[in-house]
């Protein structure tokens, strides 16, 4: 049975576990806080966050860092719900 890319238990993976410690960067704390704030306002719940993460194209999922996945999901959810217009964040950044 085919597995989704997020379903990692027992996935063949020989890579050594990188045990280096990383303090969360400001932007990572910000993303974490955005999820909490959106949850507090009932705009996105944790199940929707996870579903959004799981909707990433597989190669993008594997390349992205942890909070980059969260960012993807927030944007997908907010666009889906009409809080953001499609492409609005891109326009704001000027990209």
């Amino acid at each position: 049975m085919e597995r989704s890319v997020h379903d990692r238990g027992g996935w063949p993976d020989d890579a050594p576990i990188d045990r280096s410690e990383h303090e969360l960067a400001d932007w990572e704390l910000l993303i974490d806080a955005l999820v909490g704030a959106l949850g507090g306002h009932r705009l996105m719940n944790v199940d929707e966050l996870r579903r959004g993460i799981e909707s990433m194209p597989p190669d993008q999922y594997e390349r992205a860092s942890y909070y980059e996945r969260w960012l993807f999901s927030i944007e997908a959810n907010m666009t889906e719900k009409g809080v953001l217009a499609p492409g609005e964040l891109d326009t704001r950044i000027g990209g």
Binding site: M1, E2, R3, S4, D7, G9, G10, N45, D47, E48, R50, R51, E54, K81
Partner: protein, 93 residues
């Protein structure tokens, strides 16, 4: 609560299209209920904007690692436990 601690249960072997919290590695495997927790909102519906009600009973289910992995390299008495919703379990007695 349909299941009780000590009861043998089998995890449904279905390919659920959409968000769900039953990992593939345990689907179709048989284990033992370790604990019956309270009920919780259903992530499968809540992930799509639904309120996740009615809440679903949740169980801690334990499996012998050698029953889960054909080439499990650890010790024979090692176990693995997952929190699984009732609608993913079937009586295996």
């Amino acid at each position: 609560m349909t299941y009780h601690p000590g009861q043998r249960v089998r995890v449904a072997d279905r390919a659920h299209d959409g968000h769900h919290r039953t990992p593939g590695y345990v689907k179709g495997k048989t284990g033992t209920v370790e604990r019956a927790y309270a009920s919780f909102t259903n992530p499968e519906t809540r992930a799509y904007g639904d309120d996740g009600l009615p809440q679903q009973p949740l169980y801690l289910v334990g499996f012998a690692q050698r029953d889960v992995w054909p080439d499990y390299p650890g010790a024979s008495r090692d176990r693995i436990y997952l929190d699984l919703f009732e609608h993913w379990l079937e009586d295996a007695e």
